[in-house]
Amino acid sequence: MNAFDRNRVNVHGDAVTVDGASFLCEPLGDGRVRITGPEGARVAWATAEGRRVFVTLDGRDYVFDTGGGSSARRASAHEAASGEVTMPMPGLVISVAVAEGQAVKRGDPLLVVEAMKMEHTLRAPRDGVVRRLAAKNGERVDAGAVLLDVTES
């Protein structure tokens, strides 16, 4: 249940994918964003300030740390969670750099995909072993499809 600190977030223009779920994020000015997703539309407030991002949504506040060293990651105790790597947008798998059962370190390149005429490298969300490798070179894949899983070794 601690997937919150292991989310894969992909942005393409106003389209954002979080763990395979797609959202349309329409900026309304002054920090307001209208987000349309599977559960309908609502307006959020979001502010990037230094390395933190503040979000107010549906009567809840969220503060995200966008990185910069684990020492500052206040949620680090919760790290672990899902190692699934999914397709951020509909597109093509260009190359697969790992094999089933291969041990990887967090941040290692796993595959290169192409979508909207741009190539993108997907990296290991954590240390572990590659399992359920479903991606194949040259394959066309829908957004959200699981490409592989990095499980605890």
Binding site: M1, V9, V18, A46, F54, R74, H120
Partner: protein, 498 residues
């Protein structure tokens, strides 16, 4: 009425006092420390005078600098707000000595109610119930103490006779317990107050904290503004206040108000003040102390009665008279308020400092916001981290609470972590909404329940919002419209929720 008044405070309370001055066409003078040169209160007043460096001792507690600022600016009176010098008798004396008016009680009243023993004595004389107790000079034998404790009935609180609430208090439950604790209590009392006298007091279990607002004319008349329920506290710090109190019958509430007025009349109290009571589950109430200032939580009383307490303070100070009589102070409906702090509920409510990149206060019918900051404001480390108070009124308690909850949902403070998310949880906690709580409730479950909720994973939609977040436009500076993910096709990766 005064033509110009200096406000010897900062933040939301300074802004609030300036508002009333403006409404009545009275000139306003703000004071500010170096940390507050760009603060809202200093920009809102007609004039603003620097009084020293950031450290409170050198600025907002600097009696000499403040009196000089008043003199130099031509102010005729000083409003002290709350905190800082508001209950400092020496300050009131210095103000009067400079030929200015101190908007508050006489120095003698500040001093008298600041001395717990004198305060208790004044209450007793005015016929206000006090917690059954026994004062023992340091030479009184432990045996004698035990006899008196037995008479009061255990559990009993053992404390320094000159001490206030909180500090150095021990709860003892038996003779042996008492005899074991007495020597150390005596040492603490001697060390802290230079007097080893002890005070035994019957422990009121599961009390509520209920207080009565009043204004006295300094000549023996006083008017009350009903009570406030202030039981929801964290480490003796009030978090949510409401009026009327859901914890007492109308009969008890009015008895408390009458007791408070009797005390104010007996001492010829001048200005706004609050008489605090402990209210036991059996609806017996006991005098606790008198706060000789305008309190943080006064807006709920204003919403309930429609009266402007700062205006009452000004009228008493300028004319030694009350704005109107008791019969014109009527309670209607219910009002509830929370205090917005720059503090992190996830880190044991650690105070936070920094720049408020974005501040959006709610604007809803029946909602009142008293704020001391806006987008771009700095929250300095040196002062109490209160940012604002948000209050809601309703024709009944349920409506008022629901309106406050809705207002908090519409409140946006980004850039510094605040307790707003915690306050939202409070206003929707079923036990609190039902009015079932006492002074121990917040720390004995509500906070834990909140921590659990706050530990839940952020929903995907929140991350989506975060992914397209942009920096707020800097106040006066150039905007930096770079998204968190400037690359139009970017995997932002693994964000930690801080």
């Amino acid at each position: 009425m005064f033509r110009k008044v200096l406000v010897a405070n900062r933040g939301e309370i300074a802004c609030r006092v300036i508002g009333t001055l403006r409404e009545h066409g009275i000139g306003s003078v703000a004071v500010y420390s170096d940390a507050d040169a760009g603060a809202v209160h200093a920009r809102r007043a007609d004039e603003a005078v620097r009084i020293g460096p950031a450290e409170p001792r050198a600025s907002y507690l600097n009696i000499e600098a403040i009196v000089e600022a008043a003199r130099a600016s031509g102010a005729e009176a000083i409003h002290p707000g709350y905190g800082f010098l508001s209950e400092n008798a020496a300050f009131a004396e210095a103000v009067e000595k400079a030929g200015l008016v101190f908007i508050g009680p006489t120095p003698g009243q500040s001093r008298g109610f600041g001395d717990k023993r004198l305060a208790r004595e004044a209450a007793r004389k005015a016929g206000v119930p006090i917690v059954p107790g026994y004062e023992a000079r340091s030479e009184v034998a432990d045996r004698q103490l035990a006899t008196e404790a037995g008479r009061l009935g255990y559990p009993v609180v053992l404390k320094a006779a000159l001490g206030g609430g909180g500090k150095g208090m021990t709860v003892v439950t038996s003779d042996s317990d008492l005899i074991a604790s007495a020597p150390s209590a005596r040492r603490v009392a001697l060390g802290a107050f230079g007097d080893g006298s002890l005070y035994l007091e019957k422990l009121v279990e599961h009390p509520r904290h209920v207080e009565v607002q009043l204004v006295g004319n300094g000549r023996g008349d006083a008017v009350h503004f009903f009570e406030r329920e202030c039981s929801l506290q964290r480490r003796h710090q009030k978090v949510l206040e409401e009026t009327r109190s859901p914890g007492a019958s109308e009969k008890t509430r009015l008895a408390m108000a009458e007791a408070a007025v009797a005390l104010a009349r007996a001492v010829q109290y001048r200005g706004a003040g609050t008489v605090e009571f402990l209210l036991a589950p059996d609806e017996k109430f006991y005098f606790l102390e008198v706060n000789t200032r305008l309190q943080v939580e006064h807006p709920v009383t204003e919403l309930l009665t429609g009266h402007d307490l700062v205006w009452w303070q000004l009228v008493v100070a300028a004319e030694t008279t009350l704005v109107t009589e008791q019969s014109a102070v009527q309670a209607r409906g219910h009002a509830v308020e929370v205090r917005v702090y720059a503090e992190d509920p996830a880190s044991d409510f650690l105070p936070q400092a920094g720049r408020l990149a974005r501040v959006v206060w709610p604007r809803l019918p029946f909602v009142r916001v008293d704020a001391g900051v806006e987008s771009g404001s700095d929250v300095p480390l040196h002062y109490d981290p209160i940012l604002a108070k948000i209050a809601a009124w309703g024709p009944d308690r349920e409506t008022a609470w629901a309106r406050l909850a809705a207002a908090l949902d519409e409140t946006v403070v980004h850039g510094v972590v605040t307790n707003i998310d915690f306050l939202r949880a409070l206003t929707r906690d079923p036990e609190l909404v039902a009015g079932r709580f006492d002074t121990t409730t917040l720390e004995s479950g509500v906070i834990d329940r909140y921590r659990e909720r706050a530990g839940e994973p952020a929903p995907a939609v929140a991350l989506a919002a975060a992914a397209v977040a942009e920096p707020a436009r800097a106040a006066g500076g150039a905007p930096a419209p770079t998204r968190a993910a400037a690359d139009p096709f970017a995997t932002i990766g693994n964000w930690g929720r801080s």
